[in-house]
Amino acid sequence: MRALWRPATVGVAAVCSIVSAAGIEDGEKRSGFDFMTPETQALQSDDMSNPGMLWVLQGEQLWQQAEGRADVACAGCHGDASQTMRGVAARYPAFDEATERPIDLAGRVSSCRAERQQAEPLAPESDALLALTTYVAHQSRGMPITPATDARLAPFRDNGRRLFQSRIGQLELSCASCHDDNWGKRLGGSAIPQAHPTGYPLYRLEWQTVGSLQRRLRNCMIGVRAEPFAFGAAELVDLELHLTERASGMLVETPAVRP
């Protein structure tokens, strides 16, 4: 069975980098999908072979499962996720009234679990949290990323942009050093993509599992020999806010597959 959905593959043009601090022009935006080999692309595009679909299936089960002292399932309040969760991931991170801060999708799942289900928290990068987040995000597959317009998010998004452009670590490199200024070139043997978070949580062949955007951001920080932000850190959500604005209009791919 072939998936009906495929990412909008913009012809694999000879990807030349633009040297500009201003970022990437709309017409130049490319999903990480476009930098992959045809074999890895095929792995993502076919739901029967996409390993990320196992987390979607697990998430679907957990969605129905009553949890916590409230003994209620996600479905108990939210009903049919294919209806109620459609488009939600495309506009996250959102402003969280309770903490007066932006919150990412996994953070929302965790807070709902604590507040509504009154259940024990799920650890960052645990299979259950990834499965639920992947299942919810999957309901937006094929929809354009449409960042929330809440004005209260602006200062956090600005901070995310500042972090993206800040040189860190012993190697003194910023996210922008590679992903704005040198995308399309190769680091070691690997193509440098534009760092659009279109497919998270995603299955990374290097990880042999599904992982979050935060895991990926931490990997890059360790790569430049910086102290990574902790899972759940405010800075990582701020970075995601900037990244989703940068990727605005690109299509959600969850669960993506990446090398």
Partner: protein
């Protein structure tokens, strides 16, 4: 170019763990004198160049090194660099390329950067990327690449 023809003395910040990172003199766009203990060993330099964990060189640079399919394309090919640049010019470019091109992505291998706000991981803090003797080995090897 940031440097004048005058010789300036840079005092590198002392890096904690017994690594010497002393002072060095910049003449024009070169460092004429070895950083530590005389000339390096080209054979050791050749091995270090290809060490993707320690020197990181081939993550960005290609050149006449093993495993060409793993070379990066972020930086100039080093084939023939020994014919294009003098030993002293190569040494400064490894030690502190930012002195010549402040916005370069080339890390400064022998300069302990201003660490305020940079979140340098604990194990790397207050240390240069490579020791002076390692850099001399790399410089000795690169000068042999005549084309």
């Amino acid at each position: 170019m940031a440097c004048s023809a005058l010789t300036g003395l840079l005092l590198a910040i002392s890096p904690g763990v017994g690594e010497e990172a002393g002072s060095y003199a910049v003449t024009g766009d070169a460092i004429m004198e070895p950083l530590a203990g005389g000339k390096g060993d080209p054979a050791r330099g050749a091995a270090l160049i290809s060490d993707r964990q320690r020197s990181l060189c081939t993550l960005c640079h290609s050149g006449p090194f093993p495993d060409a399919h793993l070379h990066g394309t972020l930086a100039p090919d080093l084939t023939g660099v020994g014919a294009r640049l003098s030993e002293g010019q190569i040494r400064l470019r490894v030690v502190d390329m930012k002195r010549l091109a402040p916005n370069t992505i080339m890390p400064s291998y022998y300069r302990v950067a201003e660490e305020e706000g940079r979140r340098v991981a604990t194990v790397w803090r207050s240390k240069p990327i490579l020791a002076g003797a390692d850099i001399e080995d790399i410089v000795a090897y690169l000068t042999t690449l005549k084309g």
